[in-house]
Symmetry: C2
Subunit: 246 residues, 2 copies
């Protein structure tokens, strides 16, 4: 692509978390990955690239507006010190819609990367929206991405759409770290039996088909939506996350 | 808006199904609504407006390519005679990504409306993608939409993002038929206890807050992803769907 890539600044690693399909847990995986890496002592940031459906600020319980000093946007910090920028932090109300077409979205994505004072970071996580349109094209063309983590769920439907995302990354020569399968099954909190709500897990099969690392599977857990709704994702911890993050 | 609206052609009612949030069941609700209306004797079509993540063709088990006669695209018909157009039907492989920015997406949406030979239809259902960007702006500005059905799930997060969609519709003066809450709870197939996987249902509260009709709630059901993965959504039936559709 002839489009010049932005410089790396003081960012050691830039990781994209995506899937193509909505509602599979991209924001959840972005948040727990960032939280785990922060707990292990790294300097971490999250850029919420889902401009019209931004949820990262809510996951971390953040509502204050980022301040601007000498034309640089200062990212907001989570309780444990993760630097975060999310469109919802710039809106008067979190239920205000962003009615922007592609060109304005691309412009704000550039601002979130170049005008935000990220400082030196070990890891910057980019949480992408569903689809394979403007946001993905802009980020894969202009950002110096080190690798992508794909998030899928067990349905054939999710696999089909995630495969569109994988094929896009391959066409655009962006490296892929691996695939995580989320919502793989649910253990009934009453009778402890395993329920395959979305069918038998197939993440490992999809990863093999595309020659990707299978990073593991995360079960459905009713506690998760409580932690994310209450803005306490940093308090959620689970051995599986440790395995995946390493 | 100064943009001229397309004519109504021979379409009696045009219904948009949307949410703002991905993975809440927009395609599922679009499909069961269309199937129910078809079973009750209406002529029905579905336009899959999620260009980069199209799933309607898979839900109905369709793979054949629409034919073109004298510059008109003939929609494909489902087993029960629903007329369907979905981007995936135009791709050589269903896992091929569509790497288009807004302008091309707007162009194909116009083709799907004006160049497809829908014929006379009682109902055309438009299944929209997540977000509030190009697709929503194009459809709300240019299509003669009769009303919108919003789909939400119990989480505060989903409500927050669905409310962005509701606010968008109000800003753009598009009528709203009502709100459906999907994935409201799960009855354990082993011990029959009720599990609130995504927290306590709050669809009725959100509908009241925005002065919308609450159309009802659909529980989580492990059978659904089997029907959608096998392309047999027309065989799925459930008394709740009858209530909502009426
Ligand atoms: N493994 C899981 N178990 C239970 N709930 C989950 C799980 N993963 C995600 N969720 C919930 O599902 C919803 C959608 O997740 P989110 O990360 O927003 O998906 P996406 O970013 O792909 O749209 C959120 O409310 C989140 O809390
Ligand atoms: N009530 C439900 N119970 C179980 N699975 C569901 C339910 N509603 C939707 N699904 C499944 O969840 C997945 C996502 O639904 P979909 O309609 O594609 O969501 P969206 O169009 O909002 O992205 C599909 O695999 C579908 O079969
Ligand atoms: Zn049980």
């Amino acid at each position: 692509s002839m489009i010049p890539k932005f410089g790396k600044q003081q960012l050691k690693n830039i990781i994209v978390v995506t899937s193509g399909k909505g509602g599979v847990g991209k924001s959840f995986v972005s948040s727990i990955l960032a939280s785990y890496l922060r707990r292990s002592g790294m300097s971490v940031g999250i850029l919420d690239a889902d401009i019209t459906g931004s949820s990262i600020a809510k996951f971390f319980g953040l509502r204050e507006r980022p301040i601007v000093i000498a034309d640089k946007i200062i990212p907001v910090q989570s309780k444990n010190g993760i630097k975060i920028i999310s469109m919802n932090l710039l809106l008067p109300e979190e239920t205000n819609p962003v009615l922007w077409r592609g060109p304005l979205i691309n412009k704000i994505l550039q601002e979130f990367y170049e005008r935000v004072d990220w400082g030196p970071l070990d890891i910057l996580v980019l949480d992408l929206p569903p689809g394979t349109s403007d946001t993905h094209l802009t980020i894969y063309q202009s950002y110096p991405v080190d690798g992508i983590i794909f998030v899928s769920t067990p349905q054939d439907l999710a696999a089909m759409i995630v495969e569109k995302g994988i094929n896009m990354a391959k066409i655009m020569n962006v490296p892929i770290f691996g695939l995580v399968e989320n919502m793989s099954h649910l253990v009934c909190p009453y009778c402890n039996k395993e329920i395959e709500l979305y069918g038998p897990p197939q993440g490992a099969k999809v990863a093999e088909l595309y020659n990707l690392n299978f990073l593991g599977k995360i079960p459905l857990d009713p506690k998760i939506s409580t932690f994310t709704d209450e803005g306490r994702i940093e308090d959620y911890s689970n051995d599986i996350i440790k395995e995946i993050s390493d």
